[in-house]
Amino acid sequence: MEHLGNAIVQGVLTGGLYAMFAIGLALIFGIMRLVNIAHGDLIVLAAYVALIVTQTLGLNPLLALGIVIPIMAVVGYGLQRGLFNRAMGTDVMPSLLVSFGLSVIIQNGLLMLFSADNKRLQAGALEVASVTLSDTISIGLLPSLQLVLAILVIIGLQFLLYRTAIGRAFRAVSDDPRIAQLMGLNNRHVFGLAMALSCAIVALAGVLLAIRANFDPATGPTRLIFGFEAVIIGGLTSFWGTLAGGIILGVVQSVASSFDPGWQILAGHIAFLIVLAVRPNGLFGRVA
């Protein structure tokens, strides 16, 4: 059972990363009912931006965040104003298809620029640093950082949403966009800021992903799906639920992988489908 204990611990820590994939997705869905199919590809795009920044400036990936996050936020704002705002409306199809098209464009653009080869960010000592708890359980510094950062992101978001003027505007636009503009809010700008925020979180998640594992241009859709599964398992009601969803997904994958690596991702998908069958509102959602 010892190896199981280790698998659970590693899964919990990975869950922090999955929660970060999920939070950006849940945030824009909550504010503007937009599901961005290119979300995973933006995560991978952020990883490549970090790759360029670290290689050209010789920065540590975590320091590079100071550059990658603003870049991705600007990308997000631009995408929203230039693309998604024009596709949003009562019908979800235009925004779905536009973001699906964007997903294919980002993937193939990265393929042209960087080839299909695996890449990875080098973070030096951070990658291997760990604390040994027992013979079989050791906690890596980097995975722990993922979980801690996910918790900090959630606390930061709660503060932003409930204690600041822009958070108030996000909630007002989410409640009733028609009335919000009649009270003087520029919805298009507010949506742009929401996407910028989502992409800032995407940047953080992308850099952490890129230190942790190999990535290539085709890895985006799977990250989108992990984030989506965490959101649905967690139940769409709070970011803490989403974190719990991410952790459950991480644990299921990690435990399955400890028996047979071929089952890692499949087991996560199956867990998601079981939750959908048994509790369609998520494990922590209210029953409708």
Partner: protein, 340 residues
């Protein structure tokens, strides 16, 4: 009050019907005179048109924007290879069998996916396709991650010479395409077509007026899944080899198809056919560009979605009031006004 002349048919629909019959006869006769290369290309075109029409049936008419139809393409391909290799079922008999199997399997999948509303259904459909993809990798008897080839004896059962095999696949693909088009046409002309229009205009209003929205969507999802699996089986008869990455490829069996439909005209009967034909016309010159081609197609599809969401055919139809098939009603002031 001026009386209105309401009809489905026009001289153009009659002409199109006649033209369609002539075209069908011509295509059937091609089995007698066309070269292997022509037959092969024509088969590909038929199969892509069928996929495009089926995806449009789901997304354009039932509002089910799936990005997971590759699940059924791969299922059909793998099903055919498995039946041929393990049970010696001849390919042509396997087709209807696969259609039934896919239909049966798609019912519980639909029940599950329909719990996700709107855009979340879309990503959910992708998860299901990934389950199929990863599942196929784990099935060692079917070659695991590296896939398998169609057994030679199964290929030979289609015809003794390569030319015979091309002719058999060509005719099967043509019949399948005609069946798909007929099915969609009949559904759109039926009461269910009326229900679909109501759902598309206003789902809540359709529900409150007694349209069983979930049942209509279920029927369409199952029909599309079943037909998509049969098309998938034929696609991999053409290719003679299948692997999990090829069978369940989102780029090949969903992204390309979505772009064709969006460019041709989503939610119109003719649009997907127009989109697929354009793709093949340009394909010869542009396919060598690889990733650039997909980028261009994606960008054009986005532009169409933002500028003219009805696509090429939707634009043509609105601009000139054309329709080739008697599907919607044409309303014009009557030529002979009835005196009050």
């Amino acid at each position: 009050m001026a009386s209105l002349d309401v009809r489905r048919s026009s001289w153009l629909t009659h002409l199109a019907t006649a033209g369609g019959l002539v075209l069908t006869a011509l295509l059937l006769s091609a089995a007698l005179w066309a070269s292997n290369d022509t037959l092969r290309l024509a088969t590909d075109i038929f199969l892509y048109i069928a996929l495009a029409c089926l995806w449009n049936f789901l997304a354009g008419y039932a509002g089910l924007v799936s990005v997971g139809q590759q699940a059924y393409v791969g299922l059909g391909g793998y099903g055919l290879f498995a039946l041929a290799a393990k049970a010696d079922v001849p390919a042509l008999y396997a087709l209807p069998l696969l259609g039934c199997m896919a239909a049966l399997l798609s019912v519980p999948i639909a029940k599950l996916l329909f719990r996700l509303r709107g855009a979340y259904f879309t990503i959910g459909s992708w998860v299901v396709a990934e389950v199929f993809h990863l599942g196929a990798i784990l099935i060692v008897p079917l070659g695991g991650g590296s896939g398998m080839s169609l057994p030679i004896r199964a290929a030979q059962a289609l015809g003794p010479t390569p030319h015979d095999r091309f002719v058999t696949t060509y005719l099967t693909a043509l019949v399948l395409l005609l069946a798909v088009l007929t099915m969609i046409f009949v559904v759109l002309r039926s009461r269910m077509g009326l229900a679909l229009t109501a759902i598309r205009d206003n789902e809540a209003a359709a529900r409150s007026n007694g349209v069983n929205v979930d049942r209509v969507k279920l029927i369409i999802y199952v029909a599309a899944a079943s037909a998509t699996a049969m098309v998938g089986a034929l696609i991999f008869i053409q290719k003679l080899r299948i692997s999990p990455d090829a069978g369940f490829s989102v780029n090949d069996w969903t992204a390309l198809i979505v772009f064709m439909v969006v460019i041709g005209g989503i939610g119109t009967f003719e649009g997907p056919i127009v989109g697929a034909l354009i793709y093949f016309l340009l394909g010869e010159t542009l396919a060598t560009l690889g990733p650039v081609y997909l980028i261009i197609l994606g960008a054009v599809a986005i532009a169409v979605m933002l500028i003219e969401p009805r696509g090429i055919w939707g634009f043509v139809r609105a601009r000139w009031g054309l329709q080739l098939l008697p599907l919607s009603f044409l309303v014009r002031p009557s030529a002979s006004k009835i005196e009050k």
